[in-house]
Each structure stands twice: as C-alpha cells, then as structure tokens.
C-alpha cells in the first residue's frame, strides 16, 4: 500500500512551474501578433508577463483589482489613439492581446485560470486573420498543445509538466477524428454573417483599376501568387496566356482609369478553333474582377461579364476562390459596337503630348486603313531603339511624348499607354487592357502559377465591325521574349527582379516548386473547403440534395461512432490487466487438466516450480509463462507486445 498524497482540495496560488508554463504558452500565442502590433503594446504585454512571473516567484500578492482596471482603461484609451477606433480587426486583436496579459495578473481563483486559457484559445484563432499557411497552422497547433497542458496541470497539481504535455497531446490527437468529421460535415455557411470591419482585408496587393507610369513595374517586384490555373486539356503556349483583368478606357494625361462597369449585353463572339478548359484558384484581392484567358466563354455563377469582356464577381473576392472557365484563344468579336459607343475609346485629353498627336496624324494620312495605322505604330516601336526596362527614367507632364521621343525606355505600361494614345490620336478606337501574361508551370503538381510579377498591360484596337476588338501587344514588338518566355528573359541582366524568377538559381526554384505545390494542395483542400466544396463532397458520398436535417443526422451519428470507438479503446486499456489474468487462468486450467491443480494460496512462482518439477520436459516454458505473467501483473508497465507473447505461449502450451 502506498500512503495517499494528502493535498488540500482547495487550491492555493498557482505553483511556479505551472505559472511559468502558462505564461510561456500565452507568450507563444501572442508572439505572431508581436510582428504586427505597435511597439508600446508589445512592451506593455512583456512587462505585464514578467511582472506576473516575478510576483509568482516571490509569492507576492497580486495587484488589486482597481489598479488592473485603471491599467485596462488606460490601454483602451491608448488603443483608441493608436488606431482611431476600438473596433475593427487590428484594434480588436490588440485589445484581446492586452486583455490576455492583464487577465493573467488576476489569476486568483479557479475561474480566472480557466478564463485566461479560453481567452488564449481565442487569441490563437485571431492569428488566422493574418495568415492561414501551413507554418502558421502548425505553430498554432503547438501553442494549443502547450496551453492545454497548462489546463491539465491546473487540474492535476502534483504532476510534472512534461507528463501534462503528453496528456494534452494525446487528447488532441484523440480529438482529431471529431475535428475532421466536423470540418467536413458541419453545414457550412458562406460568411460573413455580419459586417466586417473596414480593415479586415487590408494589405492585399495586386492589380488596380488605374494605371500610371510605374504602377505595373512596381508590382513586378512582388513574388506573390495572384492565382493558379490548372488546364484540363492541352496547355496553350505562353504567348496565348493573356489573362484579362481591368480594361482601362479613360486617360487624363497621366493615369488610365477603368470604365464604369456597364451591363448591357451578354458577350457574343465567334469562336474559332478549340476551346481551352481550365480551373482557376484565385487568391483574395478584395476586388471584383476574376481573371480569365481571352476570350472567356461563359462565366462562373455569381459573376457577370462586362462589355469589355472582363469577368466580374458579384462580391469582392475576399477568400480564396475557385472557378471553372472555358476560353477561346482565337475569336472574332462580331457584335456591333456603334461608332457612338466607341466615342470613349477615342477620347484623348486636350493639350497633352502634342508631338505624339502630330506623329499619329502623319500615320493617319499615310495609311489606307486602321490596320495599316497599327502596323505603322508597331513598326515605329520596333525600329527606333526602344528598350524594355524595369527601371525606366521618370517622365514629366507630357509622359507619352517624352517616352516616345526622348527616353525610349519603358515597361509594358509605357508601351501600352503610348500605343493606345497614338491610336486614339490617329482616330482608331483603342483601349488599355491590364492583367497578367504568362505564368510558370510548377512541375510538381502541374499547376500554372501566375504571380504579381507576371502583371502586364497590352492594348486592344477596334478594326471595324468585321474584325471587332483585336489584341495588340506593343511590348511584344520591342521585347518578344516577354510574351514568349516571361519577364525574366526580357529584361536586361541585373534588373531588380524578385529573386525567385531569375533564370539561374535552379535548385532554389525546384525547392520552391515543391513547397508551393504543397501550399497549393493545402489551399485547395483545407483553406478552400467552402460550401461549394462541401456540396461536391456530399454528392460524392451520395447525398445529392442534403437537407440540414440529414446533414445533422450524419454528423451526429458519425461523431457518436467516433466517440464510442475512442471510449472503447480507452476502456480496453482499462481491461488489459484482466486479459493478462485470463491468459494466466487458461494456463492454470491446462495444467489442472494434467493433474497439477493450483492451490488457492499458491503464488505463480511457487506453482510454476511445483509444476516444472512434475513436468520436467515442459519446465522451461512453464517458467517462461510464469515469469511473463509476474512481470505483466506486478511489473511497472504492461505493454501490448508482451501480453500478446504471453497469450501465444499459453496457446501453444501442451501439458
């Protein structure tokens, strides 16, 4: 017998190891936020945590409630002055982190420790506002294990913390099947349920609906993925990959703006050749537009197509979105736009770029038709020593003139902008199309990744009702490699390109390919699991039109099954001892049939000695069984392998 540990049931102050553990867990949870929070917040959280540990170490009184309330109020005011609000995502997260630290100062009663830990879970969740990648997910799970271990430690005061960590880990692993079922089957509703704070989607980069010199070359420095595409059939060649984005029609002399979206007609065009079928996984960019190859036929549900052939989603894309598209790379737009409707595509601001206007008028006089004007313009770009560069010289007021006649060095926005200006000045309706060009296939998963650095701008000209809008890429006239092999091949060596898209560094790229393929799977299956995916999965399970009742039943029964199985497994461990007992009794019965009955007072070792004396030929296995039984029954640990060994020895035993 072991004398019981007599601990008073009413807990005193938190033991120091537990306090340290809890503080460390909370610090781990708040750490990712520290990169984003204002310095004074980080400082005050650190001070409060150290203060708490110091008080715990000295076993001193915790500060009085009025002091903490004053502190909390002061922090609230400071948050207001930092963010100019106390609502919103960032201010809310800041308040939560501050509250978490202050609440730790107040852990007097049982209840407070629970509140701190539950608050900790909540702050762990807020990390996902900023990142939902694999590293964040893994890190957050680790922090959850740590504070769950603190909770276990709080409920079993006398245990070493490492044991609690094991328990917490085991419990979370046992909770994983339930999590998986809930994740897959819990009826998903597309958020948001209520209004989101204004700043909820801050910080996303990408194309914008305006273009001025330098805006796209700025974007080219970013390595972020804009979207991924997977082709269902043949992959089109690189120079067919024009991903259509905002179409810019109005020009104020410096900046191009998108037209007000008009919604008059469904787009009609004559498709030629074979369609390209593909699926796009679009990263959230907080804008309406969806990218598609020229020329999109059909549109995803909850989207529409503008007269400029741009696909727009009905609501801003705020979560990663997946849609199927069909496009025809060869097409003739034959729906009639009247000259009247094209007036906007001819407008140029008065008083800008006189030299360019003069040049355009010359071409107009020389050319027989609009197509000839286009040819002359491209000829001009090709033959006048234009350079394709990521770092063009800055331009002044008459940006087109300076670019065309003086600097002659520019990026795609310079070429498309000046080309469209020239066309309009020559009386050819034209517009700027922005979007992406090209993309890189990830050989690991065959997804085409299109990055911000693939952003591009080209032009479209109206060549009469018979030919409609025709794409012209003046950049291709200067740097054909840009549309054939991508930006890295087109710019001069030594340009400040993102590290990864440079053409050397093959090993680094292959490493990145693998990582991005993994991240893509994560996006597709974990982060992209939305109401649509859930419907797909349920129909795959045979539930074509699931009602919420049937989903609730499915969820209930599957979770009940999993819990039952877990419970039985736990109970089986409870009864493993009696399995040892059963095997031993079976062995005794076998010996008993051979006439060697075990006396009631006889222990296993004595009985084995007596039996082996009577059955000298079996002595060895009798002793082995008895020894195994004694080890299993009275030894420190009963493990399954040895139990199985005992069973098989008993089964094979013949008296």
């Amino acid at each position: 017998m072991i004398a019981a540990l007599r601990v008073p049931a009413k807990p005193g102050p938190l033991p120091l190891p537990l306090l340290l553990w809890l503080t460390a867990g909370l610090a781990m949870i708040a750490a990712p936020h520290a990169l984003r929070l204002p310095a004074w917040v980080n400082g005050s959280v650190a001070v409060v945590l150290f203060w708490r540990v110091y008080l715990g170490w000295r076993q001193a009184e915790l500060p009085r409630r009025w002091l903490l309330l004053t502190l909390a109020l002061g922090q609230l005011i400071a948050v207001y002055f930092t963010f100019r609000t106390i609502f919103g995502r960032d201010a809310g997260v800041t308040l939560l982190v501050l509250l978490l630290a202050l609440k730790l100062m107040e852990t007097r009663a049982h209840r407070d420790v629970f509140v701190v830990i539950f608050l900790g879970y909540f702050v762990a969740l807020t990390n996902f506002f900023y990142s939902q990648g694999i590293p964040t997910g893994l890190y957050t799970m680790a922090t959850v294990v740590v504070i769950t271990a603190a909770l276990v430690g709080f409920n079993a005061r006398a245990r070493p913390m490492m044991d609690n960590l094991g328990t917490a880990g085991a419990m979370l692993i046992q909770a994983a099947p339930v999590m998986l079922l809930l994740f897959l089957l819990f009826p998903r509703v597309q958020g948001p349920l209520w209004g989101m704070p204004q700043d909820a989607f801050g910080g996303t980069t990408g194309l914008s609906d305006t273009m001025s010199p330098g805006s796209i070359s700025q974007l080219s420095l970013s390595d972020a993925i804009a979207f991924r595409a997977k082709f269902h059939g043949l992959r089109p060649s690189n120079n067919q990959l024009y991903w259509r984005g905002p179409v810019l029609t109005s020009f104020d002399g410096r900046t191009w703006h998108a037209a007000e979206p008009r919604l008059r007609y469904e787009v009609q065009f004559q498709a030629q050749g074979r369609p390209i079928e593909y699926e796009i996984t679009l990263e959230p960019h907080n804008r309406h537009w969806l990218y598609a190859l020229d020329m999109p036929a059909g549109r995803p549900s909850a989207a529409r197509i503008t007269p400029e052939y741009q696909v727009l989603s009905l609501s801003p894309v705020r979560t990663r979105m997946r849609y199927e598209m069909i496009s025809y790379p060869s097409y003739v737009v034959d729906s009639g736009a009247t000259r009247d409707e094209l007036r906007e595509d001819l407008a140029i601001p008065a008083g800008f770029n006189p030299r360019a206007q003069r040049l355009a008028r010359e071409w107009r006089r020389a050319a027989a038709d609009d197509a000839e004007v286009v040819r002359l313009a491209l000829q001009y770009f090709r033959s006048n020593g234009f350079l394709y560069s990521l770092e063009p010289p800055l331009l002044g007021r008459d940006s087109v003139d300076e670019f065309l006649f003086d600097t002659r060095e520019g990026f795609c926005e310079h070429y498309s902008s000046s080309f469209v200006f020239l066309m309009r000045a020559a009386g050819v309706p034209a517009r700027v199309v922005t979007g992406f060009q090209g993309g890189a296939i990830n050989p690991v998963d065959e997804y085409l990744a299109v990055r911000d650095s693939d952003a591009h701008a080209w032009a479209e000209v109206w060549l009469g009702a018979s030919r409609g809008w025709v794409r012209v890429d003046p950049t291709a006239a200067v740097a054909p490699a840009r549309v054939e092999r991508g930006i890295a091949a087109a710019v001069p060596q030594g340009s400040p390109l993102p590290l990864m898209i440079r053409e050397n560094l093959a090993w680094l790229r292959s490493l990145r390919n693998s990582w991005e393929a993994l991240a893509n799977q994560w996006n597709q299956w974990v982060l992209g699991y939305n109401p649509d995916r859930q419907r797909e999965m349920l129909s795959w399970l045979g539930m074509e039109h699931p009602s919420w009742q049937s989903m609730a039943m499915l969820l209930f029964w599957s979770i009940a099954g999993v819990i039952l199985a877990t419970g039985l497994w736990l109970v089986f461990r409870m009864r493993r001892e009696s399995a040892v007992q059963r095997a031993w009794l079976r062995f005794c019965a076998k010996l008993g049939r051979a006439g060697i009955m075990r006396a009631a007072h006889e222990g296993p070792v004595d009985y084995a000695a007596r039996a082996s004396a009577r059955l000298p030929t079996r002595a060895e296995s009798i002793r082995a069984i008895a020894q195994l039984y004694v080890d299993l029954r009275y030894g420190p640990r009963a493990d399954v392998e040895r139990l199985l060994e005992l069973r098989s020895l008993v089964r094979g035993f013949r008296a």
Binding site: L5, F114, F122, G191, P192
Partner: protein, 322 residues
C-alpha cells in the same frame, strides 16, 4: 421485473442514491459504468460558449483554419468527457481502518482505492460532507486514504455517503460516484477537564499482593506505549541511544480507584457524567493506576492497561440509560 430493468438505468441508480438512502455496502465496491455520473462543470459551459464564439468568428471571417481550431477544441471537449469518466470508473473502493475518536473530533475513515487499470488516475477528491481529500492512484496500485468525518456525538458513527469525484484532465467535466462502505467508528464521550477525584481511592486491604503493574518495586522494562506516563520512561536508556522503554513496577498497588456513576453529584446530567467519567478513565490510565468503572447496570472491575481503558471507554460510548 421492472426493478430489475431499472437497476441498469443510470438515472434510476442516481435517483436511488440521492433520495432513497442506499443501504451501506459490505466489502469492496466496484465503481462500474452505471455508478459513475458525468456532467459538465461551470467551466465546461464557459468552454462551450468560447467554442461557439470561435465558430461564429470563423464563419464570419471565413477562416478555414479557424474552423479547424474550433472543431479541434470541440473534439477536445468531447474526448475530455471520456477521460474524466475513465479517471474514476472501474475503481475498487474497499473499507480500511477506522480509529476510535472522542466526540467533537474528526474521525478518519480509512478507504482503500485500488486501480487495476494500467494508467494512473489523478486528482480524485473524496468527501463525506466534510473537507475533501485529494489523491492520485497509480496504475495497478492500491492507495490508502482517510476520509475525515466530524464526530458530533458519542456512540457508533456510521460512515455517511462518500462522494468520489474528479475533474481531471481539463476541469470541463465532473465525474462522480457515491459509495457508502459499511464502516463505523466508535465515538467516546468528550472528556471534560476535571482533575482526578482525590478521595476516590478505596483503602487497600493490604492482604493481596497485586501482581502486574504497581508503583513500588521496579520489575523490568517493556517497550513504550503511547499511554505510558512520562515519569516511567527509562530516560537513561533513551539517553544512551537505545529504544524508548517504560519501567514497570510490581508490588502493592498504592491505590485502587473506583469511578462510580452514582457517586457523581445529582445535578450532573447524563452526558456530563459520561464526560467526567471519560476524563477520569483517561487520567487514571495515564497515571498507571488501577481503576474500576460502575455505570447503572454495568460494572468493570479494577484493572489497568490499554485494553482495560478501551473497554471502559467503550462502555461509556455505548451507554444507554434504562
């Protein structure tokens, strides 16, 4: 028949424990599944509320990993029910030692808690209405605990219903079971603080030589007992580093005391008389004196020693006036 069916129902079982005053159980009690009840604690409800809030946040902000975390915590809550249940279920509770006490003291009811499972059980709280005792039961071990019960009045003190409960591992759920092993403690009357009566000594006839313990002639040494007077301890032997021994004497008993119920003042009530007699028995025993006890209908002849003291105290504890 209905009763046979009902006894398999946990609710019925619970009902009978709470309202019907189960009869005390003999022998070792096995806490089977049906005897262990599980309900969420207040913190468990708070936890559910927190998980619900996290779910709403995940839906509103479309956080897929938020769903993962929320559902993982929901699963953790469910799994913790199993763990809490397992922490208590299939425990064997057996009766242990009970020491006699005086009224007004706390009686310790020894219980053995045996776990035949191969995992350790943590933080089991036992209470029988009084303060709780917390203990851990290692895998395949037996642990001895003493459950305190306040002994209010003399006589037999039956161990009341003991609640064994646990909130391990997360404190979100509470599993508990009721047991009432058939155990009782003997509660002696509380002694008052009167001195020994000076005139209680009955003159010795001087005719009989009393063998055994007396005060006159040194007769030898025996191991120290807790009730021995410090004056009789062989301090020289102790000072030499030897065991604590008590000097015994034989010879004529100098005095022989009779504690008589009837000799007490009439003004004293029943319990006051018993308290006074208890006090005298204790003092006389401490002095090593020979004494006898006379209660209405009971007489214990003069003797001395531990066994004599206990039998006197027992009579005092169980005395029922006609």
């Amino acid at each position: 028949m209905l009763d046979r069916v009902l006894q398999y129902s946990q609710l019925y079982n619970f009902y009978s424990w709470v309202f019907k005053r189960h009869a005390p159980e003999r022998g070792v009690v096995f806490l089977g599944q049906r005897r262990v009840y599980v309900l969420p604690t207040r913190h468990g409800l708070t936890f559910s509320l927190a998980v619900l809030l996290m779910l709403l946040g995940s839906i509103n902000y479309v956080l897929s990993l938020g769903f993962v975390l929320t559902f993982l915590l929901a699963g953790l809550g469910l799994v913790s029910i199993l763990h809490t249940f397992r922490n208590l279920a299939h425990l064997y509770v057996g009766p242990g030692r009970v020491d006699d006490v005086f009224a007004g003291e706390v009686a310790g009811f020894g219980l053995t808690l045996e776990s035949r499972a191969d995992f350790e059980r943590f933080a089991l709280d036992l209470t029988a209405g009084g303060p709780a005792i917390t203990c851990d039961v290692p895998a395949r071990r037996t642990v001895y605990v003493s459950v305190p019960v306040r002994a209010a009045k003399r006589g037999w003190l039956q161990l009341p219903r003991v609640t064994i409960e646990t909130r391990y591992p997360l404190g979100l759920t509470r599993a508990w079971a009721y047991v009432q092993p058939d155990m009782r403690a003997l509660v002696y009357p509380a002694p008052d603080n009167a001195p020994l009566p000076p005139s209680a000594a009955v003159p010795d006839t001087g005719e009989t030589l009393t063998l055994g313990a007396g005060m006159d002639d040194f007769a030898g040494l025996r191991p120290y007992q807790a009730s021995d007077s410090p004056r009789h301890i062989a301090w020289k032997a102790v000072a030499r580093g030897g065991p604590v021994l008590t000097k015994t004497f034989s010879g004529r008993a100098s005095s022989q005391l009779w504690f008589d119920w009837a000799a007490l003042p009439d003004a004293m009530g029943l319990e006051a008389r018993l308290s006074r007699l208890t006090r005298w028995v204790l003092l006389a025993h401490q002095e090593g004196a020979r004494f006898g006890l006379r209660l209405p209908g009971v007489e214990i002849g003069p003797a001395q020693g531990e066994a004599h003291k206990v039998s006197c105290l027992r009579e005092l504890a169980l005395f029922e006036p006609r």
